[in-house]
């Protein structure tokens, strides 16, 4: 298995020369399992880091090639009693399916056995009151025992095996008290059956196994199903795609076989498998998986399609521009997997607490047993059993990872990608947001500001002339004039574009030039035109300056609303931009943000972040992620705007994929709520245990009720997280 696994697993990270791998550890159930893997693999020579995520069963290991091999890493995990399963492709799906089927069979056997034994038990109880033939009573007990044996050995195997490997590792997991209770109850019942006297607990044993299995099954389904957002992303890709052959035919090939340059056919309703260029005239796509933006977008021939978007129009053809492994979707999945394989600090603390908790429970049950033996030996056994069963350390250790996974999944659905595990926790605590201007508050789309013109020309005429010229320009600035009506001006003749200078053309017998000041015209500055040449676009006629246009980038449509939402959350907003102070001030005025800072170098921005942090503020830096790298790293939490494959290069803790600011306020709100959810979960788990343990110790809780209580308490914690993930925010 290891040999085949390693074929799927290892890859070398070229930049640092370190090998890195991720796999599922099958059979991981509790915080202790996670810790023992962490300890064992971490102790191997050459291993640089080990991250184990309980919520998703993922293990990620980095090591130095040469001093360690993947086989040895996998063997050390297997030696602890876990089965390493590769995460990619069909092998992972097959392994998951087999695990699920085994779980179902265990539940089925336990359930059928439980029902059968319940009927015998009713007979025994009734018989105890009305008088029963001793031979018949013995037959009923022996039959119940015969059914309990396979239920205990097959259905109960996960608990027994888990407890055994816990003990062998000299650690206390949540399986230890469960297995102790099962074996104790079973042994006592067998003993009483053989000596033909006393109480038997076969019904409690089978019922306990049945409820626990149901609980684990639902929990596992929740964990693997919708909590794992990255898997959902990866799952959305088709296993096979239709490749068009050069002779006009088509063939079905595996996704992994797609190479850059292949021509692919995407059926209506199918997922675009890799990034590529559209070959058909137009197409309509739903990119909500990538950006969180739910309205469909239309694309025309030659435009870039993102892998993972859904073709909602007619079938389309595209030319792949990436291999399957390096599409935008693949890099998103890789980022999310990195985040999920690392464990947030909050959950580490809870893990340690859970281990102590199990130890305390074992000691407590011994004490309860001793006390009851002294007070009333006939009730000692049931009370001890109830204490062992009713307590639930798993609600404690599940509380945090379940909430973090839920919040991450929920944000991912809205196009907000959390790429570092601690980002959520820190995001919940920020009180200041520093906004970059260009590309963040504004789009790269230029727009026309104020216009100054000499009196005899007039601003309107000047704008119309400029627009007529710019109709012929491919320069990005030309877009600023796209909305201007140039109908009153005849089409220019002899149009010529001078790279880096501007554009010229003849209109009404005059040679107009639009561009830099030196290009537009020499000579003295006419009255009414601005002094500072750099910030304006100039229009000249026959070497005489006629007009100047202020071009600035336009504010994002959603900027005002997004800023308002952030302010409503009690956050202090700042603008720091490398742009000229005038433009920054204009944006700040429009958004009502005080103290705008223009012409900031990255060093200035870092200084600003540091100064705010020194005052005790927690800072969220929001930038475009491309040239803000060091600044983003300096802030407590960083968030980058990104689209498509660019997301992979961003160094931020968090990415807004939709190229829209709406997500920031949502992310902050979700982070705050998820922290609340974690606290609520922990409080609840603690409260449950504080109520249940004394009741069980006093002998008020029959073993079957304890079994239900324990299963329900851990399910409740996962269900709360699940509800949070699903909730439409």
């Amino acid at each position: 298995m290891n040999a085949s696994a390693s074929a799927h697993l290892s890859w070398i990270d070229g930049a640092s020369g370190a090998a890195e791998t991720q796999f599922f550890a099958e059979g991981m159930r509790c915080a202790n399992c996670a810790r023992s893997i962490q300890r064992a693999v971490g102790a191997l020579p050459g291993v640089r880091h080990v991250d184990v995520n309980l919520a998703t069963s993922r293990v990620s290991v980095g090591w130095t090639p040469g001093s360690q091999t993947l086989e040895r890493v996998l063997d050390s995990v297997a030696a602890l009693g876990f089965r390493p399963v590769p995460m990619l492709g069909d092998a992972a799906a097959a392994a998951r399916g087999a695990e699920r089927r085994t779980a179902l069979k265990r539940i089925g056997l336990a359930g059928l056995g439980m029902m059968q034994i319940a009927m015998y038990t009713v007979g025994l109880y009734a018989g105890a009151f009305t008088g029963i033939d001793p031979g018949l009573a013995r037959l009923l007990r022996v039959t119940a025992m015969l059914i309990t044996v396979p239920v205990l050995l097959y259905s109960g195997a996960p608990f027994l095996r888990g407890a055994w490997s816990d003990l062998r590792r000299r650690s206390l997991g949540m399986d230890v008290p469960v297995a102790a209770a099962l074996l104790l109850a079973f042994a006592a019942s067998v003993y009483n059956t053989l000596r033909d006297a006393g109480q038997v607990y076969f019904d409690s044993v089978t019922m306990f196994i049945f409820f626990l299995l149901i609980g684990r099954y639902v929990e596992a389904a929740m964990r693997r199903g919708s909590l794992d957002a990255s898997e959902a992303l990866a799952r959305s890709l088709p296993a096979q795609v239709t490749r068009l052959k050069s002779d006009g035919g088509s063939e079905r090939v595996a996704l992994a076989a797609v190479r850059s340059g292949d021509r692919l056919l995407v059926a209506s309703g199918a997922v675009v498998p890799v990034d590529g260029e559209l070959e058909d005239a137009s197409a309509v796509l739903d990119e909500s998986l990538l950006s969180g933006e739910s309205t469909a977008v239309s694309r025309v021939a030659g435009e870039r399609l993102l892998g993972g978007s859904v073709n909602v129009g007619t079938p389309l053809r595209l030319r792949a521009t990436t291999n399957a492994g390096s599409s935008a979707l693949a890099s998103m999945v890789a980022l999310m997997e990195r985040a999920q394989s690392e464990r947030p600090r909050v959950s580490l603390a809870a893990d340690r607490a859970a281990a102590w908790f199990v130890g305390a429970i074992l000691v407590l049950s011994l004490a309860v047993a001793g006390l009851w033996l002294w007070l009333d030996p006939s009730r000692a056994f049931e009370a001890t059993l109830a204490v062992l069963v009713v307590t639930c350390p798993c609600a404690l250790s599940l509380a945090t990872p379940a909430a973090v996974a839920a919040a991450t999944a929920r944000l991912a659905r809205h196009g907000i990608l959390i790429t570092r595990p601690n980002a959520l926790e820190r995001l919940a605590q920020i009180d200041t947001v520093i906004l970059d201007k260009t590309g963040t508050l504004t789009t790269s789309q230029p727009c026309l500001g104020s216009v100054r013109a000499v009196e005899e020309l007039g601003a309107a005429r000047a704008t119309a002339v400029a627009a007529a010229l710019e109709r012929h320009s491919a320069h990005p600035l030309a877009a600023a004039f796209a909305a201007v009506d140039a109908a009153g001006v005849p089409a220019p003749a002899e149009v010529r574009e001078v790279a880096g200078q501007g554009i010229e053309g003849r209109i009404d017998g005059c040679r107009w030039r639009l561009g830099r000041r030196e290009f537009a015209g020499g000579g003295p500055l006419p009255a009414g035109l601005p002094q500072d040449p750099a910030e304006w676009l100039w229009l000249g006629c026959e070497d005489r300056l006629q007009a100047a246009f202020e071009i600035h980038d336009s504010l994002r449509r959603e900027a005002a609303a997004a800023v308002g939402a952030l302010r409503a959350q009690g956050l202090d907003l700042r603008i720091a931009s490398g742009d000229r102070p005038g433009a920054v001030a204009a944006v700040a005025r429009e958004l009502d943000i005080a103290d705008p800072r223009g012409r900031q170098t990255p060093a200035d921005k870092i200084a600003l972040v540091r100064a705010l942090q020194a005052e005790g503020h927690r800072v969220l830096m929001l930038g475009d992620g491309v040239n803000d790298g060091p600044v983003l790293a300096a802030a407590d939490v960083s968030c980058a705007m990104g689209q498509g494959a660019a997301v992979a290069h961003a160094a931020a803790d968090m990415l807004l994929l939709g190229d829209s600011l709406d997500g920031v306020a949502r992310a902050v709100a979700t982070a705050r709520r998820s922290l609340g959810l974690i606290r609520g979960n922990l409080r609840w788990a603690l409260g449950y245990n504080l109520c249940a343990v004394p009741a069980a110790a006093l002998g008020w809780v029959p073993p079957w009720a304890a079994a239900i209580g324990m299963s329900m308490s851990s399910l409740y914690v996962v269900w709360r997280a699940q509800r949070f993930a699903r909730e439409a925010a």
Partner: protein
């Protein structure tokens, strides 16, 4: 009451039959995908099935 001596072992046999039937169903992947099977009939994928066995 001696009929119980026959019926109780018989109930064990029934249990074995029920468990065997359930295990068979699970192993045949009857419970693997409970959602798509119902939806599949609505989907319009005209994938060519496996080629028919060659005529002899």
């Amino acid at each position: 009451m001696s009929i119980a001596l026959l019926l109780i072992p018989l109930s064990l046999v029934l249990l074995v039959v029920a468990v065997a039937a359930f295990f068979w169903a699970v192993d045949n992947k009857q419970f693997d995908d409970l959602e798509n099977a119902g939806r599949q009939i609505l989907e319009d994928t005209d994938e060519p099935g496996p080629p028919p066995p060659a005529e002899r």
